[in-house]
Symmetry: C2
Subunit: 215 residues, 2 copies
Amino acid sequence: MQLYTYFRSSAAFRVRIALNLKGLAYEAIPIHLLRGGGEQLQEAYRAVNPEGLVPALVDNGATITQSMAIIEYLDETHPVMPLLPQDALGRARVRALAQMVACDIHPIDNLRVLRYLVKELGVPEEAKTEWFRHWVREGFAAIERHLSRDSATGRFCHGDTPTMADCVLVPQVFNARRFDVDLAPYPTIARIHAACMELPAFQAAQPSQQPDAES
Amino acid sequence: MQLYTYFRSSAAFRVRIALNLKGLAYEAIPIHLLRGGGEQLQEAYRAVNPEGLVPALVDNGATITQSMAIIEYLDETHPVMPLLPQDALGRARVRALAQMVACDIHPIDNLRVLRYLVKELGVPEEAKTEWFRHWVREGFAAIERHLSRDSATGRFCHGDTPTMADCVLVPQVFNARRFDVDLAPYPTIARIHAACMELPAFQAAQPSQQPDAES
């Protein structure tokens, strides 16, 4: 398998965690999101993924895009170390938690959106940063409330083994920290993040450990 | 089953289509997104869904949130008229197409984001509309390229029966039209949209047919 990735992309980070949790080897193909106006927007990569976003996974010649679709594909094709629970309600809960990040926080704070704010709308740097923090706070408050009131929450987002929800939550915590979002109001998120980061699969997937990492 | 819904919410629209395709009866509980500052943000609804977003589905006392998670739940618990293909690659493709809308277009153009642009950042009405159109165009161009080059595309997004990808795409086309986005550059999307709208399940789910519809 080949994974088109960028060390700091939180969507690629999600997939790297899933691959590591399942013990699947892969070749990392770095796509630099800033160099030359963004390698992800150039024709060579658009031929792989017309959307011009990372990650993309190539498995036996087939290209799969969208991080949550990739994780579910890996889970279906490599069922060892399942990343979704066995019951329909549990699966729905894990998917919903993942989507609370992947639909309702991350896309609004994505690089291309922040760029549009600054370049097209002339939003000052400080207001851009506040935008970023606002959507993280909105989303994290809802996730915290969801996690803290539900007995299905365990050591991880759902029970005592990591699921897709943890694969998606942890990279968002990294992003939040990079923008100095105070995590004190989200003790359950912080606790689960710490539990995840004790695991080698999460450690090895983090941005600083990637071959294309920059300081 | 009860569905918390708003006639114009495209995320609720997705779930209404799925329920109709499967022939499942449900009680619609309208949540007015504009009235009184937004009923979805009030404590009564936050107790149902801490995120303060519609839709939410209640089934046998359990609450499920996030439209794609709800659709997958319905598909797992009511397998007749499957909304995902049988093969892992096909499933990944349908999920990715749905996520290209549900992650990469809709959240950026959602009501709360447009409100923030206007109220917090003072973005003029015209620039707000251009923002909306920009993200639809970016996303539709990628989806069009994906659909038009892939032989898995049929009468619908994936083959000749509707899937979750169609449930998610059609409401986004409704939104695009509401903001006068020219659909001429996306002939495959327009063709699939038309095929979907010939089906009673899609017709009955559309905003104008809802009990809480307004002109």
